[in-house]
Point group: C2
Chain length 477, copies 2
């Protein structure tokens, strides 16, 4: 007798083998056919019971969601739609699922309803597929970097530094919120806080990663980051996972090569390793598209889109070229954009990025060499004195998926910039030390992991690609 799982059995032709199998009932029809799932694959295995040999009380308990253990033999299936099935010789109910109470019935549920039942939505085909893909993508990330000589660097989550300025921060405290200790001048006495100062949740591990790149050469972070921004959109989370590689001696061209190679590699990995889940999600999108007016339908299926990314070069376009294209394009001239592009220096909005990617170039685009004054302080100033070696990778459907830059390696230039922005240099003493001692050209980028999962699964709302999303007014579970 072999304890097996559904994925193994569906791929087996070891007929007449005796097996036991545990799982959850997806459906039970004709008092005979159980579709059993155990999470090892999106596919169910058909388990055939002989209802004449089973007591009625047990039969009644075989309901959607119930956990059962079956013993039987693996047989070639005569029915349509499956190669193998299990002929059940004995069956045990492990855990009931009262059909009058169980929220996840075998019918279509809205994503809104499922979000309120995020602890149970993982039992549906769609969320099973999404989360298995998320896991495979996560492994592909570690595999890519490990095979390419990178070291995984765990950036600190709680930080006493707020110099990065990537967004609003969450305060982390052990002080009594009702009666915080105060100094004589009436301000909070943070010396009594757990860490002896004011602390926040990190918005990025980049600055710390740079210190490690300047010793280990190639490092990457893959951890949670936080933004306390009141953005109720389908593209924003307050808590999300970010991937940030940082490489010593890489210039901006190397950085673009890395971003493109990395994204292609992880998408290739899931195309090769998650065929069933991707096929299901591909079909889901086709069905969803059918319910839309023709003009809103996708030009490509999910699988076509993923292959397109892998097989095509990302178009590299300078900010200056992009502005020229945008200034002269139809939607700009006809004032269809919400933000009209008039001159060089304008910050690009999502509508502009999507126009470039989806209408103009019709492929992923890497924009580079942005105006210095719309980008972060640590980016390498170009010789023109007005642009920096920044880059954004723009994807169809989701817009910016990667933001990165070559870093300013010159101590004096960096100090000058910090001064102009009124950042306290003492806060960044350790960061500046990397430029004081053995500085060198280096580059890196950040990739929001959930955006990548969104793109790979075709899910429209970012709240549906992370197990328990954290958004304004919502930290349930």
């Amino acid at each position: 007798m072999i304890k097996s799982n559904v994925a193994e059995l569906l791929g087996s032709d070891n007929f007449l083998q005796e097996i036991t199998l545990n799982g959850w009932v997806r459906t039970f029809r004709a008092n005979r056919f159980i579709a059993l799932n155990d999470g090892s694959t999106i596919n169910n295995i058909q388990c055939v019971v002989d209802f004449e040999k089973m007591d009625e009380a047990t039969l009644k308990r075989i309901t959607t969601g119930a956990a059962i253990s079956v013993t039987g033999t693996l047989e070639e299936s005569l029915g349509k739609g499956q190669k193998v099935e299990v002929k059940v010789t004995s069956l045990k109910i492990l855990g009931d699922s009262n059909p009058d109470e169980y929220p996840i019935q075998p019918k279509k549920h809205s994503f809104e309803f499922l979000r309120e039942n995020a602890h149970l939505r993982i039992r549906t085909n769609t969320f099973g597929a999404v989360m298995r893909l998320r896991s495979a993508l996560s492994f592909a990330v570690h595999k890519y970097f490990t095979e390419n000589g990178f070291y995984n660097f765990h950036a600190p989550i709680i930080t006493g530094s707020d110099a990065e300025g990537a967004g609003e921060m969450f305060n982390v405290s052990t002080l009594d919120p009702l009666n915080p200790p105060k100094k004589e001048d009436g301000t909070i006495d943070y010396s009594q806080n757990f860490f002896g100062k004011e602390t926040n949740l990190t918005v990025s591990g980049q600055l710390e990663a740079e210190t490690y790149a300047m010793a280990l050469g190639k490092v990457y972070t893959f951890g949670p980051t936080f933004r306390a921004e009141n953005s109720n959109t389908t593209r924003h989370l307050a808590e999300f996972w970010m991937i940030e590689p940082e490489v010593a001696f890489n210039n901006l061209d190397d950085n673009m090569d890395l971003a493109e190679d990395f994204i292609k590699s992880v998408i290739s990995y899931v195309l090769a390793n998650c065929k069933d889940d991707i096929a299901f999600l591909n079909d889901r999108l086709i069905q969803e598209d059918k319910r839309k007016p023709a003009i809103e339908r996708s030009e490509m299926t999910l699988i076509e889109r993923l292959n397109f990314i892998v097989e095509n070069n990302f178009k590299r376009v300078s900010y200056t070229e992009a502005i020229d294209i945008l200034r002269n394009c139809k939607p700009n001239k006809k004032k269809k954009f919400q933000y009209i592009i008039n001159e060089w220096g304008a910050d690009l909005q999502s509508e502009h990025e999507r126009f470039l990617v989806e209408k103009h170039f019709k492929c992923p685009v890497i924009l580079f060499d942005y105006p210095a004054n719309i980008k972060a302080f640590y980016m390498r100033l170009n010789e023109d004195g007005k642009t920096v070696r920044a880059m954004d990778v723009l994807f169809p459907g989701i817009g910016e998926i990667v933001g990165g830059s070559q870093r300013e390696e010159r101590l004096e230039v960096l100090q000058q910039k910090i001064k102009e922005l009124n950042i306290d240099e003492k806060e960044l003493w350790w960061y500046l030390d990397t430029r004081r001692f053995g500085t060198a050209v280096h580059s890196g980028f950040g990739l929001g992991f959930e955006r990548l999962v969104q793109f790979t699964t075709g899910m429209g709302n970012i709240r549906d690609v992370i197990p328990y999303p954290r958004t304004p007014q919502n930290a349930e579970f």
Copy 2:
């Protein structure tokens, strides 16, 4: 001309090949021999410059910590201690390192000093080796679980639930700390907080992981967890990374098998893949031991200890047996223990765990079936009504490395327990749903990643195995 790295070149016999190489100077002696490191390996490559052909100004700038770029040919080395060296034809200083200011000189620094310079300590041999090993262990974790059919589950970091009770929590807030909004009764009005309620940093992802295991079968978390405890020890951090697998249909025996197999697998991985770093750390410990009195020296070297774990079965001992052993052992009778073991039910202290592992069994030990009242609410009650299916894996030197259990799968028993402990059942509605709908036997455990890194690297202080440690009064960098 090939852009190369030190690890590749040291393994190459492609002599006379022209190469360029970037890195940092570790030492420069006799105006001729540069030991160059780029983080790709603990080993340096010798770069030989012809000082008669170089200008003196450049020669003076070749100092410890300086970033340089060399061009030259790979040659067979005639010197001792290396197979290959680089004959330098041209050399460029990328970033200076003023020897009067650079804190990391080629001499022995105390770990305390290096902790204050955590952004630079990674440039030393010891911390390079530790952090490369940490990275390899991290990859080994993902590899093991992926190859064994587990899905990586990202547990939420910010949580509105405080039911787990694993320790003191950090508060996460966007309220004005000086003037928080208050309700009529004078308490804080958390409805105005970002998430509309009081929120904390997670102490464990276990409860959420259980909800995913009950659909995907096998899952694991690997993420940061937090304890706001004022523990200034060599074994505690306020922010640390935890690995928590959770498996549907696994009982406690399966759980012990998994823990043992997992630990052996990841240690085998680094023994096979990190030979140079482990050899260095092994030697470091031998040198450290030589400075200790004979009685305090280790019985085994680091490598011997790692092999011992891989090659030996973990001894499985019930709590009841352990108490018998402890009650009758010499240190207990002679009152050498700080806490004397008198009767069944006593909570084991670190001294008892270490006695069992280091003196009595002389191998890793798994203790199981603990008294219910010293363990968490979610653990499966045994038929005896007084013990629970808990397990702790104890390691020499570091004590508890794994804590886990079979979970209480019976709704009524769990509800009764929650009631006894005055936990608000409404807080756990989603957790209890896993027992309401399709419940089944399941098990899991938590492993503190830094403890594993400590054991594998032989580092005495947990603050030296994480890049930027967070401890009471310390959140620098």
